[in-house]
């Protein structure tokens, strides 16, 4: 796995599901999941084990992009938001390589 420039965000994301684990999935992301044949276990795998390749913090929380590989060797990119106030991960978009 490639190293991340965003150590804090990555550590937090990797640990989050073991402690809080509330997941908010946008309808658009759900549709992208259906179209690309990406299931929740794969998305969770990427969030828990992937590399954070981009993160931008502001007063609302943090926008992040995390990249990982599923158990069938396909790359998956998950874009999401961490709400600072609600301690919740929101998945905004999903992309999967063919």
């Amino acid at each position: 796995m490639e190293r991340t420039k965003y150590k804090d965000e990555q550590l937090w994301l990797h640990e989050y599901f073991d402690y809080i684990g509330i997941l908010d999935v946008d309808l658009d992301a759900q549709i992208q999941m259906t179209h690309s044949g990406t299931s929740l276990p794969e998305v969770l795998d990427v969030l828990r084990n992937g590399t954070v390749v981009c993160a931008e913090r502001d007063y609302n929380g943090c926008e992040f992009t995390v990249k990982g590989r599923n158990c069938d060797g396909k790359d998956i990119i998950v874009r999401g938001v961490f709400h600072a106030d609600m301690s919740m991960v929101r998945v905004v978009a999903i992309e999967k390589t063919r």
């Binding site: 509330i22 946008d26 309808l27 759900q30 259906t34 044949g37 299931s39 929740l40 794969e42 069938d72």
Partner: protein
């Protein structure tokens, strides 16, 4: 995120979503309907549904996998694949665990070859062991899985359908029987209802 009324949906509200079809999200090749445990995000201005909030997705995946593994109806190829993906195993890792040739597992997953009963039971047991805490909670006896009578799909016309009622207790998702119309909730349960922690 514009829409017909020309506004940008921004004022998000959440209400409980009753009867959420979670099969697409879970990648389950059978219907999974959730009663409770899921929030529905909607725009306060136009009412459009914008997403869903799942309280404990890891536990949900484990529950659905264990319940399917413990149902005696024969697994088809896509269900084998679903169970493998729920455990996040690569095909070659699962093949290795079951002592199966990876090419053979691939034929099974693509419905080109049926899975023999011995391997099917091993796979079911592997699911219960992988999610042992969930299996214990639901009250699954792993040895039962190894000795179960698997019903051939040809004998049953009914598809596997899970009606789960998820309730939150101590911030953890728990499974509760749901009084579905056909009174047939977690169909697999020989001993009646799964143990409840409510």
């Amino acid at each position: 995120m514009g829409n017909q009324s020309g506004h940008k949906c921004s004022e998000m509200h959440v209400r409980e979503c009753v009867g959420f079809d979670a099969s697409h999200l879970l990648g389950a090749p059978f219907p999974v309907t959730l009663y409770g445990g899921v929030g529905e995000k909607y725009c306060g201005k136009c009412g459009a549904v914008k997403g869903h909030i799942i309280k404990d997705p890891m536990e949900l995946i484990a529950m659905v996998a264990v319940l399917r593994a413990c149902d005696d109806m024969k697994l088809n190829g896509s269900e084998v694949k679903f169970l493998r993906k729920s455990m996040s195993y690569k095909a070659k890792d699962l093949a290795h665990k079951l002592d199966l040739d990876p090419a053979h597992l691939s034929r099974i997953e693509n419905d080109k070859k049926p899975m023999s009963l011995v391997y099917e039971k091993l796979l079911r047991a592997a699911v219960c062991l992988k999610f042992i805490e969930t299996a214990k909670f639901i009250g699954v006896d792993v040895s039962h899985v190894l000795s179960m009578n698997i019903t051939s799909a040809k004998c049953v016309s009914k598809i596997f359908d899970l009606h789960l009622c998820l309730v939150e207790k101590d911030n953890v998702l728990r499974l509760k029987s749901h009084g579905a119309a056909d009174g047939d909730l977690v169909r697999s349960w020989e001993g009646g209802d799964p143990k409840l922690a409510i």
